[in-house]
Every structure is written in C-alpha cells, then in structure tokens.
Symmetry: C2
C-alpha cells in the first residue's frame, strides 16, 4: 500500500468544492459517483480525468485517467448519496458543439434534478442530442445520477436567457412547440411535424412554461388526461415518443 | 394547550410499526405525510382516520377524523423524509372492488417505490383505475408520496401469485399485452387494440417481465429506441398514452 497514490488533503478540499455549482462553473469540472457512471464516462474521450476510490485493490488499465486512493470517510465527503459506492470520478465539462441538427429539446425552469435527469435519459433513448436547459445546473450530481450516464452523449447547454436562444432558433426557421396544460391548445396527437424543423419546450413542474416564452410558441399542444396532471418527465416522454419518432 | 388531545407513547409506538409492511398488513392501516396527501385523503370517505401534528394551532373541521398533537421529534419518528412537514396521517387500507372495467395495468415486480408511485400517478391521469401489483408494497410511504395522492383513487391490488391472476383474466377474455425490450416483438405503434379487452403488463427495471408471465402474453410489444433503455415509468407512460387513449 505504500506505493499507492494517495489523495492529499488539499485535493480533497478542492474536489469537495465541486459539490457547489459556483465552483463547478469556475473549474469547468464536475463529480460523478459509482461504478456505472464511471464506466460510462470512460467511454468518452477527454471526459473523466480522475478516479478516487477507497477500494485499494482497484486498478485501472486506462492510463489517461489519474487514480487516487483515499479513506471511505473521504469518499462520503465527496458523495451526495446516503450509501455511497467507493468510487468517485472527476470529469471535465462536456465539449459542446453548435446545434446543427433538427432535434432540439428546450427545458424552461425544470426544478427537480431527478426530473431533469430522467428527461435527459429519455431524450438520449430517442436520439435527441441537443438540449437547452434554463434552470437546474446540468452538472448537479442528482441530475447526473438520474441520467444514468446518458448526459455524456449530449450536446446540452445551460442558458440564462432562454428567450434570446429561442428567438435565434426561430430565425433559423425552427418551429417552437410548447406543452401546456391548457385544453384550448392542440391535442398533441393532432399536430403533424413531419417536415418541419422544430424544438419542443417543456416548462416548470408547478408553473409550466413562462409567459414570455409562451408568446414565442408556434404551436401549443396538450396531452388530454382525465385527472390531475402528469409529472413533467412523463409528459416529456409521451411527446418525445410522438414527435421524435423515426 | 392543556385541553389539546396529545398523542400517547403507546399510540406513537403503535403507529411507528406502520413503517413496516408486516404491521401495515396486520392492522390494515398505512401512514401518509404532508399537507398535500392529507388534503387528498380527506376527499375520500373512510380513508383518513387520524391526523398527528406538531402544529398546535392546526384545527380540523372534519369531525370524522381524529386529531392528535405531539412534538416535532415524534413527527420525525413517524416520517420517512429528511425534512418532514409537521403533518402525519393514519389511513385505512383502500376499499377494493372486483375488477369489472376493461382498463387494467399489471406490474410484475417493479422494484423501485418511486417508479411504482409515478406509474400509479400516470395511470390515474389516463383514467386507469385497476392495477394489479406484484412486488413492492403499494402502501410503502415512498410509493404513496410518488403517487401524490393518486393512489387514493385506485382499485389497486397487491398479489402474490400473478400467474394465477392473469390466467383468471384470460378466462374472462382479456388479451394480455406485455412490454419487452426484444426487438422481435411488435412495434407498439402497430398494435391496434380498439375493440379488445386488454391488460398491459410491465416488468422489473433490470430484468423485465418474468419468463412464466411472458408465456401468458397474447401480444408482445416494444418501444423502438436508439440507445440504452427507458425508465420503466417512462415506458409505462408511453404505452398508456397509446393504448388507453380515449
């Protein structure tokens, strides 16, 4: 064990800061937890830079990733789960490209990191790679966990001024489709989008799409249901299955 | 405060037991948490029997429900959330009816209480009232919470022998439709069920529908996706939106 590469106290303190959005943004790094996410991250070039583990028998073949050992207590300090696995990864922010494809998803102030993560996972399954997010930080550990690694495949942007982004898309002839609860909108099954470039907008869990964004919509759709409301990740999935079908 | 009706130590110990499935089953009672669920439960006759609160200024108009006051520490002992609201409800098990309608959902060993709860909430929105569940206890506090109260509208059964239940439905001419990952199944969009009585089966998060249940399926469907897999609550929603459409 003497020749094992141990995590220093300074490094620990530095990485702990990545639990806060402010420092993630400053360092352009984020934390992932658990073997599954680390395996997924390893599939992507320039993403995972360091693994920290309390499993002293763990070895790594990939020489581009730095491996450090530490106590399980320190693993817990870097973790946001109740019963952490002994593996923490430090990743670089995703390398993003200009949006050029026609499949775009826009998330207007989704509040719950679990919902955001589940939407990202579903989008990946439907081969939607471009997501514009206003709201929760996409590098929040709870978001990453709920994506189950799907976020690593994404061209996903955190923006502050969604209105500006949507106006830019409209200039490029994207039609903007928004999901509302209002039954005066179009039944989502009756909107045909086969030949149009479009972006689908989903809004906040409690308040839906913001008023200044609703004004920009080309089509307003709703999912006809008989009681209460759908969870936003559920509504997103139903609409993605419909509109992003091959 | 002297004339307030205080929770006794014996009552507290009795209700704490309801956090365990075994005692819920024995007493035919379950715990709910928070104002929203209590308000939802109050809409149903014979459901909510007692409210326990640490908010001494809380009063209740409904005289059919018993109200007890206690310390916030005791509320925490009855709660399964990190930051509980000061309201706990004790409910009677749901009153169930024989299934007579044609909309049935069957859940074969769903493992995650959050997924089960989300599926129940979605089913309620699509007016599917009959659910047969093999697996997680439907009265698990995490399930109840994820349903956001939708479970109170349900005719929902926890069964031990799902095969027997499905054979019974088949005798009554229900067609059994199962959601598989296997691409040799029917693309779900190509199955028309307009005039048939049917029940939709969803399986476990990791393993899907069990082999002995697959053998009973009349139709095997899959959702075509390009990457990974969908969360089971997401798959359930896409299929419900398709098959239980008005």
């Amino acid at each position: 064990m003497n020749n094992k590469n141990l995590l220093t106290k300074n490094e620990l303190n530095d990485y702990k800061k990545l639990l806060l959005k402010k420092y993630r943004k400053e360092k352009r790094e984020f934390i992932i937890e658990g073997k599954h996410l680390i395996e997924e991250a390893l599939k992507h070039k320039n993403l995972l830079k360091k693994i920290i583990t309390s499993n002293y028998s763990f070895e790594l073949i990939n020489k581009n990733v730095d491996l450090k050992y530490t106590s399980f207590k320190n693993i817990c300090a870097l973790s946001t789960t109740k019963n952490p696995q002994p593996y923490i990864g430090i990743c670089n922010f995703l390398e993003l490209k200009k949006i050029q494809e026609e499949k775009i998803l826009i998330l207007n102030k989704i509040n719950d990191p679990g919902n955001l993560g589940t939407i990202i996972r579903t989008a990946n399954s439907f081969n939607i790679k471009n997501i514009i997010v206003e709201g929760v930080d996409i590098y929040n550990p709870k978001v990453i966990r709920a994506t189950q690694g799907a976020i690593f495949n994404m061209n996903i942007f955190n923006v502050n001024d969604l209105k500006k982004e949507i106006l830019e898309l409209k200039k490029q002839n994207y039609k903007i489709v928004g999901s509302l609860l209002d039954k005066n909108s179009i039944d989502y099954r009756n909107l045909k989008l086969d030949k149009e470039k479009f972006a689908l907008v989903l809004g906040n869990e409690a308040n839906g799409i913001e008023k200044n964004i609703i004004e920009l919509l080309d089509y307003k759709v709703y999912i006809p249901i008989e009681f209460d409301s759908l969870n936003v990740a559920i509504a997103a999935a139903i609409l993605m299955a419909k509109y992003y079908d091959k």
